[in-house]
Amino acid sequence: MSELAIQTEALTKYYGSQRGVEDLDLEVRTGEVYGFLGPNGAGKTTTIRLLMDFIRPTRGTARVLGLDSSASPIEIHRRVGYLPGELDMYDRLTGGEMIRYFGNLRGFDAWHRVDEIAGALELDLSVKIGEYSSGNKQKAGLVQAFMHEPELLILDEPTNALDPLIQQVFYRMVEEVISSGRTVFLSSHILPEVERIADRVGIIRDGTLVAAETVDALKQRAVRRLQLYFDGEVDHTDFAAIEGVTSARTMNHGRAVAVEVEGSVEAVMRAAVERRLTNVTSESADLAGVFLAYYSGDDDAA
């Protein structure tokens, strides 16, 4: 039993001379939800297809559930539930027929679970896949990924095309997986989603992992925007000098200051209280600032 559900070392894939991913060191722990975040084209799908052994690494290794992805793909597939990012299924089969087919290939027979999951997702399994909306196709893909209660779920953009209510159902399904000690690795380009369900986040940009931390740690680094209102005029440069403040500007004819703070707001608040603070508004800290900072690439010299 490995403590890591997924471990890649210097995982690299070139397509000809084009880079897919480079020197990727991922660690996904057993029992967590890992959000694999990045813009489209960053290499999320390439990474997932490497884990599934659909493509082979140029160099480096990937271990899934302790098994080498190239050496033991069948055993990995037996224990993994997979949802592809580009979901194409057999249009001429019904959803139920497709699930029966994949279930049979797995030697799966707990068909009642299929009905439960399909019921929760409000999916009609008697309809031909060719007639499904993209949301229903996504649901059918989720059913086949979850039905056999795999130890590890590898989901490429799982909430793609799901309406908000069904997204909630999906989040509950993920929570059930975690509560039984299993692991979820999901890719997304939607930040609030990852923030909502992930324990840890890896951010990938241009094929390389630029950050891998807990959601909480990332939030610590998130930029908070405060608007401080005072009884009388204040000098905004007093605030600009405080550590962690990235910008401060005057509002309300000098009677208010808008500041952006990275990390803790404590020092700013202390300074504000000393200056007869009357009111504070703040935008809730989210990962967007951190995320965008990684995306825009402060170190984009290359």
Binding site: F54, H77, R78, G85, M89, R106, Q144
Partner: protein, 268 residues
């Protein structure tokens, strides 16, 4: 029908299978039914066929005009050297192409390969089902000739019928595995279908036309159609060497498909 890759492949192709089976039945019954009246006009028809160029007779699967109205010559020229091949090869090449290149093009390969089943097993299952379906289509012709042939004085002997039908299955499998090989290697449905069909057409004309060109006549046996028909299995029984060659290349192409598909990055 969705128990395995083997049965699903048959399920997927059931409409084509039914269509080609019925087409084969209609064709063979018609050819049998026409024989008595054609044999009755033997002299006029022989005069007509005498005027045909040798190359056309060669493509019809007979060596001389007098040959064409004998039971063996009639069946070779009306069925085994052309339309039967056309039916089984269309089916074989289509199914061989669909096996992996088709799924890859449709984008369904990802989910199939995500199941705990090896790529080799996928190919073997698919080839197995293609073999069974081809055998079914070919068996229709065999049964029709065994039962209907004697009624129309088309007495050719059962061992000859076994030989030519068996060889036809081998030739169809050769092209099915060639399509699987090219499709497995390239992942392209268009390349697999186009290349295999092109090779089949060229090989067919090599078989038919090389004998009438003196310089090329000795090389006729590079065509797999010669391996099937060159020694007239309907009259002479199984030519083991040539049928062995058909089977050998089929095995080679299958091994190539397993290697090519097994070691390649599959696309989305």
């Amino acid at each position: 029908m969705l128990r395995s890759v083997f049965t699903k492949t048959i399920f997927d192709r059931r409409r084509g299978l039914i269509g080609w089976t019925m087409g084969m039945a209609a064709l063979v019954v018609m050819v049998i039914a026409f024989y008595p009246s054609i044999a009755g006009q033997r002299e006029q028809l022989e005069d007509l066929f005498e005027s045909y160029p040798d190359s056309l007779l060669a493509l019809m699967g007979v060596e001389s005009a007098s040959d064409i109205l004998s039971p063996v010559g009639y069946l070779n020229s009306q069925l085994f050297a052309n339309v039967v091949l056309l039916i089984v090869l269309i089916f074989a090449i289509g199914a061989g192409t669909a096996a992996t290149a088709g799924e890859e093009r449709d984008g369904t390969l990802d989910l199939l390969l995500a199941q705990p089943i090896s790529r080799t097993r996928v190919l073997i299952d698919k080839l197995g089902s293609i073999t069974v379906m081809l055998a079914g289509i070919i068996a229709v012709s065999f049964v029709a000739l065994v039962i209907g042939g004697p009624l129309a004085s088309l007495d050719v002997g059962i061992s000859g019928l076994v030989a030519v039908h068996f060889g036809t299955l081998l030739l169809a499998l050769l092209f099915a595995t060639l399509a699987m090989f090219i499709g497995g290697l390239t992942g392209s449905r268009g390349i697999a279908l186009g290349t295999t069909a092109g090779i089949a057409v060229i090989a067919y004309f090599m078989y038919g036309l090389f004998p009438v060109i003196d310089a090329l006549a000795p090389h006729q046996d590079i065509s797999p159609f010669y391996w099937l028909l060159g020694e007239n299995p309907l009259a002479n029984g199984v030519p083991w060497r040539w049928f062995g060659q058909l089977a050998g290349f089929t095995a080679l192409f299958l091994a190539g498909a397993i290697w090519g598909f097994g070691n390649r990055d599959t696309g989305t």
